[in-house]
Amino acid sequence: MVDQSASIDIASLVKRHGTTLAVDHVSLTVPRGEFFSLLGPSGAGKTSLLRMIAGFETPDEGTIRIDGRSMEAVPPNRRPVNLVFQSYALFPHMTVAENVAFGPTMQGVPRADIASRVRLALDMVKLSSKEERLPSQLSGGEQQRVALARALVNRPTVLLLDEPLSALDQQLRQEMQVELKSIQARAACTFVCVTHHQEEALTMSDRVAVMHQGRVLQVGSPQDLYESPGSAFVARFIGVSNELRGVVRRIDGERAIVQSPECVGEIQIVLPMHLAIQAGSPVTLLIRPERLRLSTAAQGLSGEQSLAASVDKVLYSGSDRRYLVRLGEHVVWNVRVPNDESGRNGLVPGDHLSVRWQISDAVVLSE
């Protein structure tokens, strides 16, 4: 079955580097016009995957289809994709305009059309005034825009980006996240972006594939991945996550009671529909720091779960405070409290209180 509306259709792709599997039976489908990110730590296989889509590496097994067409034995210069390199790879002996004109010239686009397409592409990245400069005369951010324009001018089916923002400083990186997203919308082109930077992936992408050790662990919208991570790895890799291991004691309709050897008290959870959990099943609970509430009051709100804790550390970071609270000997949780009430300043290390959260906010994973 080939999905005709898909820009990229990857089926059980395998790439071996020596004896290790750099890419381990990866299957992905990227619809037309989507901003898709491959997110993972270094060595996760995301760059290998990107290079196979670009054609620089040959898969050992599996197929890649671009626009429904098999890419088997198609060299990079015949593929309808263009790659924005991590180092930009601008030709140092050519001007900005010559760099951008390179692709269309190679494709045999008529001379007059090349000029107008180059102008259009440079307009899109707001660099029209610097056509005659050499790459060495541009700033890092400008070089990156040239790299983008040089790829987009070819009107590729898919634009591949390899760690596009990694060489930029923090502020420029945030600006470019927004910029990339709007360029993608204007170009109406499928973007596949490799990054190890989770915030970058969440901000820019329509969908993200989290990769680890050559496998795709989870594919979903940024919200899916953050709100309902399918594994502890995904939860830890995307944002900060508090974890607690325990065993299910009783099941009571849609809810269940979990007890953890690591802390005192019973914890109520909502049973996830897709997991077969019975009494006695080991589970891991995941709760995001900003979903937690600290309270010294004895009584919680309805639907809330509460655990006794003590304050270990207070970290002030301007817009919010991070509390490290201890629930048990080996369990320290992160709690993020917005700095919106001056009255909250009272907590100091050593204070005893309770950590509370909405029962539905805890993500349950079976071991």
Binding site: P76, N77, A89, F91, P92, H93, F102, G103, M106, L134
Partner: protein
């Protein structure tokens, strides 16, 4: 307060110290290069005495003598042989240098060592070895006869072909080394980028690799062309009497004909030609240095 005076002194003595550093080198070059060269220049305007001595005068006779077709022929032949040698070295050296530049770092050192191994033996000895190979009853002819490729031995030694073979053999490493340095610095991702941007292998070579390796190509060509042009030993041993190059002519004038002034004039002309050519080459290389000029 205490730290400022030493800093000031270091600053003022800096340039003075650097002049002293030039001293030994300047002395050596002055005595053994500039003075003899000036002598050659002066002698080139003198005249030959009846028995081979130098008659001091200021005349252009020697330079006018050089207009004789015989000399023009030898100079032209030398330029042609040097140019053919340079071209052959470039054609053979470029793929070799590219291969070494793209080899794994461990292999790279070994391959470069192999390129330089000929230098371990004296050049004269190696040229004699070529005489044994190229002779009518030599290694090459014997082999070809035994294999039945040829019916009668080919006359290779004492020809322009033999001279070019010897020169290419001798100077190929001088082409490979600067090319290797230049090609190794060409970023591999640029090649990938061009490939991604629909370029064929040939276009990548022509529009990306060659322009970026241009300083190395220029350096390699100069390092082969200039010594080939003035070569003396190789044409003497492999070219014999039939293929004379400028170097042999100069040697002949100084040592056989005992016409020092004419020999000096030929030397000066040769130097003038090489200097003019280098200027032209550096000018031709300008587009590459555009980067520095514009910034």
């Amino acid at each position: 307060m205490k730290s400022s005076p030493p800093a000031g002194r270091a600053e003022s003595s800096g340039p003075v110290a650097s002049w002293w550093l030039l001293g030994p080198g300047l002395l050596w070059m002055g005595l053994l290069f500039v003075v003899p060269l000036s002598l050659v220049l002066v002698i080139s305007f003198a005249e030959r005495g009846t028995y081979g001595g130098i008659v001091w005068s200021l005349s252009l006779t020697n330079y006018l003598d050089l207009l004789h077709p015989l000399y023009a022929h030898i100079l032209g032949q030398s330029i042609l042989l040097a140019a053919v040698t340079t071209m052959l070295c470039l054609i053979m050296g470029f793929p070799l240098a590219y291969y070494i530049a793209r080899a794994a770092p461990g292999r790279q050192g070994m391959l470069l060592l192999l390129v330089m191994i000929p230098f371990w033996t004296n050049f004269l000895v190696r040229t004699y070895a070529w005489m044994f190979i190229l002779r009518t009853e030599g290694l090459l002819n014997t082999l070809l006869l035994k294999l039945g490729v040829i019916a009668a031995p080919i006359e290779l030694l004492y020809s322009n072909t033999a001279v070019v073979i010897g020169l290419v053999y001798g100077y190929l490493p001088f082409m490979v080394l600067p090319l290797f340095v230049a090609l190794e610095q060409v970023d591999r991702t640029l090649v990938e980028a061009a490939w991604d941007l629909y370029a064929t292998r040939w276009v990548i070579l022509r529009r990306i690799i060659v322009p970026l390796a241009r300083p190395g190509i220029m350096a390699g060509c100069l390092l082969v062309f200039i010594p080939s042009l003035g070569a003396f030993l190789t044409p003497d041993l492999l070219g014999g009497a039939r293929s004379m190059m400028v170097g042999n002519l100069i040697q002949h004038e100084f040592l056989v004909a005992r016409d020092w002034p004419l020999g000096a004039a030929i030397s000066c002309l040769l130097m003038l030609f090489v200097m003019g050519m280098m200027r032209w080459l550096l000018h031709a290389a300008k587009p590459v240095s555009r980067q520095e000029d514009a910034s």
